[in-house]
């Protein structure tokens, strides 16, 4: 594992092995090999663009769904969490401490669509005892990137 490479890639997934090698003072071959190894080991799970979907089209809706779940003997929350994760509508699933158990991020085209997905799919799962749907109204920061404050460099162009 190589934390320095991971840190640079998590800031910019498009950084090339060559650029990373230059920045860290290492060889390109070494960095490329490390990255391949971390990909194989599943430490790096993907490279994706951070998209501001609200700017792309206004008909995208996201919601965070809180699920209360009765854990199963021997399986705990694993079975239901993995089942929920299989839905393509579901972007992320987390097991939480506190008053509910699973936090599920769902994306759909309309409020109606997301609400129906919760009603028909999530709440009908046997071990799910309660759901609460919170719609996202506006996104301010996604994956460390501030979405509305695009140029916050208030320095001048030249300064000696």
């Amino acid at each position: 594992m190589d934390r320095k490479i991971l840190k640079l890639l998590s800031k910019n997934a498009r950084a090339t092995a060559k650029e990373i090698a230059v920045m860290l003072g290492r060889t390109e071959e070494d960095v490329a090999a490390q990255i391949r190894e971390m990909e194989k080991a599943g430490l790096i799970r993907g490279y994706k663009a951070v998209v501001d979907w609200e700017a792309v089209d206004t008909t995208t809706v996201s919601a965070i769904i809180e699920l209360k779940v009765t854990p199963k003997a021997g399986l705990g929350f694993e079975e239901v969490a993995e089942r929920v994760a299989k839905y393509p509508e579901v972007e992320s699933v987390y097991l939480m401490s506190g008053v509910y158990d699973l936090s599920v991020m769902v994306r759909g085209k309309t409020f109606q669509e997301v609400a129906m997905f919760v009603a028909k799919e999530l709440s009908t799962i046997d071990s799910v005892t309660q759901t609460a749907t919170h719609f996202v109204l506006r996104r301010y920061k996604e994956m460390d990137i501030e979405l509305h404050d695009r140029n916050n460099d208030d320095r001048s162009t030249f300064l000696l």
Partner: protein, 391 residues
């Protein structure tokens, strides 16, 4: 009607305007400028330092401080320069807190330079030394540092410029714009030249925290025989990313600091109070935040230096500050022509080396106080610009 031309001080009106005025005006007409032109960190001041400033306001610390600066700050400065640079100063008599390092340089030159005294100024270097020397009636004597010496001051060059009128030597290291540093052996050679003279060294160490490749900054005053002739100038702007707080300091022998404090008292009164409170926190707990910023600068430094060299613009490894200083003579253009054409054609803002003295001809300054994405974009545009030149 007042004839302003006749009432203004000719020493002031005679000072050359900044070499980058023209570039400002060109850039102002453009939308999509990508700048590597700023000598100022891009990081916000570390939160803990900002928060201490805010807390001081909440607690109502909104009055003047003593002229020379808050006592706890003077003590922290002494502790800091001792642990970092092996310098020993008395917080009561050998420290002055100033409005940025610039005010410290100004006060020091005012305190020591008599009319007609010569001040040796290595160039290329930051732009304030020459005009301040002129303002106090001194005579700037330029020491042109050379790329083949990594832009250091050498003993021979220094010796050749010393006259009976030499009052002071500026040592602007780590150096803006060259990235050059003076290592212990270099400073020992300078000390050897200066011993038995009455020449005072004004050591501008504002970039002292920003050295790379395992090289720690050596303070001239830590060299035997130098403490008694050196005013050490430092500040919070670059190391702690606190440019807007306007806070610096000077440390040196009490007789000089005493006179500088007098000038400061009448001209400034005291450095900003909020900034002084925040600065105490910076010195006490800023190490980790500084180390993180330095690590980030170091990665950018490697990226930009390698980028320029790949483009065929030979760039020595800058060992300090946060600038690359590549050579552009391979294009056949002057520094000024290169920067203007690059700005007009590809909207990249660099500063011509000549803005830092005649010896900067053939070089341009590129700041790497920018994100790696920003630096890569600028390099890509410079590549396109160079490709167009070849056509």
């Amino acid at each position: 009607m007042i004839d302003y031309e006749n009432i203004l001080n000719p020493v002031v009106t005679g000072i050359k305007p900044s070499g980058i005025r023209k570039f400002f005006d060109i850039a102002a007409t453009m939308d999509d400028v990508i700048s590597l032109g700023v000598g100022e960190p891009d990081f916000p001041t570390p939160w803990q330092i900002r928060n201490t400033g805010i807390r001081s306001l909440e607690q109502g610390h909104t009055k003047y401080t003593s002229n020379k600066g808050l006592a706890p700050l003077c003590r922290e400065i002494c502790t800091y320069v001792h642990r970092k640079y092996d310098l020993t100063y008395d917080p009561d008599t050998e420290v002055l807190v100033t409005v940025g390092g610039s005010e410290a340089i100004d006060a020091c030159l005012r305190a020591i330079v008599r009319p007609g005294d010569e001040v040796i100024i290595p160039q290329p270097s930051y732009v304030c030394y020459e005009p301040i020397t002129q303002l106090v009636g001194g005579v700037p004597v330029i020491l042109e540092t050379r790329p083949e010496n990594d832009f250091k001051v050498t003993a021979d060059e220094l010796r050749s410029l010393i006259t009976p009128r030499t009052r002071a030597l500026i040592l602007p290291y780590p150096c803006n714009p060259t990235g050059g540093i003076m290592e212990r052996a270099d400073l020992e050679a300078v000390a050897e030249v200066l011993k038995d003279t009455g020449i005072i060294v004004i050591s501008d160490e504002i970039y002292a925290e920003l050295t790379f490749g395992g090289l720690r900054h050596t303070s001239p005053a830590s060299i035997p025989g130098m403490w008694e002739r050196t005013i050490t100038v430092n500040g919070f702007s670059k190391a702690f990313s606190m440019t807007g707080w306007r806070l610096g300091y000077a440390c040196g022998p009490a007789p000089i600091i005493k006179q500088m404090t007098k000038i400061h008292q009448f001209a400034i009164m005291c450095a900003p109070t909020t900034s002084q409170y925040a600065a105490v926190e910076a010195l006490r707990s800023g190490d980790e935040a500084v180390a993180k910023m330095v690590e980030e600068y170091d990665m950018r430094r490697r990226l930009i230096v390698s980028g320029f060299n790949e483009l065929g613009l030979v760039c020595r490894e800058p060992k300090g500050a946060f600038y690359a200083f590549p050579c552009i003579t391979s294009t056949g253009m002057s520094s000024d022509e290169f920067c203007e054409a690059l700005l007009r054609e590809r909207q990249v803002a660099l500063v011509p080396g000549t803005a830092f003295g005649k010896g900067g001809e053939g070089f341009v300054r590129a700041s790497y106080c920018y994100s790696t994405e920003h630096i890569l974009e600028a390099l890509a545009r410079i590549r396109a610009f160079l490709d167009d030149l070849k056509k």
